[in-house]
Symmetry: D2
Subunit: 324 residues, 4 copies
């Protein structure tokens, strides 16, 4: 279909480019780095050729989240957002922006988000999982209490927050030892991001800010398949909930989350997602440049869903969610 909109579409600035090395074999690095630094050439050509009208652009990963010096993290976030704003200004009909945020400092992240939305006209934020704060091994997830005011602002601004994957730090990645191929998109990205999302749900965040809109890529990082078991294991015990949140995990998932197809071009998986969360909360994305636009688009244009859902997932859900 024409007019598709993607929302997990990355670029790099020189300072963050090397963060994307290592995921792909060396022989692909030249191509990947070229893709990451380009906005208006090859990228736009790919979009034209495969019916993508718009990309909501975001910085590559882990970038800002992995810069444990807060001042440096802030500086890079600002620089990336300023660069992105300039690029969007050249073709606002084809590109819109999602903010990079230095969540090492919740207050500065809040102010940067406000600047990005109000001054730069961005449509939301995309954050690459946990932040390393002050030292490389200090891992901070956003269910922590110091983020309460940040989330309050996200809700007030009424913009979506894309929780994007990153790898665990090496000290927390023991289970993959000797099997480095399980890191990154193969598996570890999903585990990392799914648990982060579950931490947000279990913490009661969505009781406090019920209008938050969190986006997960990769068809939900595995959550739809397991969501029933999360709430229903040991169903015969009638004990009170053991976590702070008031409701079942699935209720937050169904009311506060959106999923994208980024990097998961699988019809069976899409059907399962539709039967768990409904087509109104699923949105097309490619994960460019880590995935090809043609792989995403050729699959999506032919995948075995209704034409009505194809239009919603491919385009109109994004128009509604981001007020495009």
């Amino acid at each position: 279909m024409d007019g598709k909109i993607g929302l997990e579409e990355h670029f790099a600035i020189p300072e963050t480019l090397s963060d994307s090395a290592g995921f792909l074999p060396d022989e692909s690095w030249q191509e990947l780095s070229k893709r990451l630094l380009d906005i208006h050439e090859g990228r736009l050509r790919q979009m034209d050729e495969h019916g993508m009208e718009m990309m909501l652009l975001s910085l590559n990963a882990p970038a800002v989240q992995a810069i444990h010096e807060t001042s440096k993290a802030c500086e890079i976030a600002t620089r990336a957002n300023d660069f992105l704003a300039e690029q969007v200004a050249k073709r606002p009909d084809r590109f819109q922006g999602l903010a990079a945020l230095p969540l090492q400092d919740p207050d500065r992240a809040t102010r940067e988000l406000e600047r990005c939305i109000k001054d730069l006209g961005f449509r939301g934020a995309l954050v690459n999982g946990f932040s390393q704060v002050d030292r490389p091994d200090n891992v901070v997830y956003y269910d922590a209490p110091q983020f309460d005011s940040f989330w309050k602002t996200v809700q007030e601004l009424d913009v979506p927050f894309y929780l994007h994957p990153r790898n665990p730090i090496p000290a927390w990645a023991q289970i993959y030892e000797g099997h480095p191929w399980l890191l990154g998109p193969t598996w570890a990205f999903g585990q990392e991001t799914a648990v982060h999302a579950l931490r947000l749900m279990g913490s009661g965040l969505f009781d406090r800010y019920p209008r938050l809109k969190i986006i997960l890529g990769h068809m939900g990082e595995g959550l739809p398949y397991s969501m029933w078991r999360i709430d229903n294991r040991n169903g015969w015990t009638k004990a009170p909930k053991s976590y702070p949140a008031k409701r079942n995990f699935a209720e937050y998932f169904q009311e506060n989350f959106y999923l994208t197809t980024s990097g998961n071009f699988r019809t069976q998986t899409l059907i399962d997602a539709i039967l768990e969360i409904g087509a109104d909360r699923i949105l097309f994305s490619t994960d460019w440049p880590f995935e090809n636009v043609d792989h995403a688009a050729n699959w999506f244009d032919a995948t075995s869903i209704s034409e009505a859902d194809r239009l919603k997932i491919g385009r109109t859900n994004a128009v509604d969610l981001f007020k495009l």
Copy 2:
């Protein structure tokens, strides 16, 4: 349907009983411990009431796998297997056995498996994830080279190996810190077991022993939903595989793995599993006594699949797989 067979159905001996404490709220412990120690009373009544003809019984978790002193692990495994053999002998029409194995010592585990199959008439083995060897923090997965001969024997004996969940050790569970409710069946069990299975696939084990049959519970511990992405992320890079195994992960999954419904009574999830691995490799199970037989049976008897698949999943796949 009548005649259902379950294959993830647990019991405890006094020495392992307390391993099952802590997963459920205290007020359920009295009931749970009673269920675990019972074989021929309440359990059989549950089976009669809900159309289960047979349970393949296995020791609770983590039990043997968590006993880091090898001699103690061997002793408990032997004791549990002997006890199980006695129980099966009383009602071989309703119960069959799966061996507990002290994989702290691959040779002794191999011999115990041979004893269980050849002398005790067991139908396979059920192992609770990684073993702690010699000291609590020495975590050993079964893709390690010292298990090669063990797997050779498993293939020669032509019996299924059920890879059952356990929790990560605390030092490896940092991601769940402050969120203990994500441990156990809610989430950590799945991550732990899925990664273990992926390690087996990536290691080349199934190239060496292509007739191994590994069973995963809980509808595949999340793997079916993500299997495509595991092999196909970054599809545009044509680099050679980075792991020892010769084929795609999905090929091993489709040819060497079986899934059960234990603790995951969700039709959407079952349909996705059918569309990924096919109904010939899915088998009914309850996860008694952590899950109720009626919850499993009432769901399964009515779930939205063909009657042909209901019969296969509920019964005949197990008859074929275990030569019942």
Copy 3:
């Protein structure tokens, strides 16, 4: 779920009551006739007990459509509509009306529809398939040219038209000879109504009146399963279309049709319908009193779809479609 709305829910007036005899075994007739004549007693109790907030009521079948004397058909339609308006007036919070129409005379049917919508406050029309005109064996489908002005008015009034089943006349039912059990809801209703719908599509009606909204019961009378083949058989021949309409059948189906669950409480079928037409065009209905409210509601409340779609199909799609 609470708050369900049903839109294929029938009543009878004394003059049409006997039209519903013959479909069910004699021993059910006493109960059925009581159900058909009741509005505010047992019906409301059923609704209360099973979470139905509202029924859009319609006359039983074939009723007006089978009265070949036009004046009589008009009289009965008027009488039924007046009776229905009185009943709705007593509980407008629980009942709304769909008009019976004497399509034997397109002009009078048009005027009666206008009266029902503008004066009586009805929400649409429900018509029982073809009309017999002037003599019993003169079968008239609504793709005929004399209905053009009627359809124009339907579009202008912006109300849905429910195309409800009826049996073929005996002279056209040769294929069922010796097998009367294939008549009615078992099979013939579906064939009759599906072909009528296809005639409307193929005739070009929706090219002329593209905003028409046609509702089909019984999960689409078989059409979703076959819709691809209807347009794509003999796909290698590139001949121009042989029918008057400009577009593929499926395009009209996807843009001008809505389906209800009446009398087809089957999850597999619902999933197929979702994957063909999307959850925005599927609406809950029971087909009371020919089907039980509890059969419909118990199934629907538990069927394996997302909660978002359950709410849309159960309630909000109807609110939108009928401006409730």
Copy 4:
């Protein structure tokens, strides 16, 4: 996948060629007639190019069934079968035969079937719906009592019977009047064949001959989608069955019927069929030359089912069913 086997694959002899005219636009006739008369040239090339190892060949439609003079029907059937046997003998590795049968005379049809199976080595029969007997308007379905002995022989020979579509005779096609585009594969084929199948089920045929194996093309001629409603409409009435057969329609459907994908290359439809009848009873077919091999094969090779089911549906189910 390679090695696919198709079982609804047609040829014509000069005497039956013109029966296939009229379904397709004139400009396709030259190509179609060439395809129908060819066995070893273009057909084999198509098979080679798209991974079809074998076609079970059958005469085009309606052919024998439409020849109301019994002696002529017998003569044409014999001639077609003899011709087919010769063709199969040239490449038994690529072609096998299904018998044409003159069911105008049940005894001669029985003897011809025996000859085809025992002498010619055919694998089953394919019959084009009802037969016209003695005069064009005498329509005979095979639930009639005079076919009892024929069915007895089919069961004894243990060969499948493919019930292939044909159009209704004009006197029975009133519902399509003015809409000739609804005849043939667009719609009328499905109605005709589905009702014939339901007549067989309702008649009690499968109570008398429970090992009969009936094959339906086109993903079951619409039956899977409606099978639940056929048995469960008006579920609240507990009246005894009104038809001769002892069991529910769905039970016969699930135990005596097989479906093929011929001419219905739709993933949604295939998934629904899998969830109704199971992958063991679905078989790949193309409907050559009315459908293209590449259309069938390209779809099937990529359709969203498990690889295990792809192999069964594409090949091994046919090997088992026809003892290839």
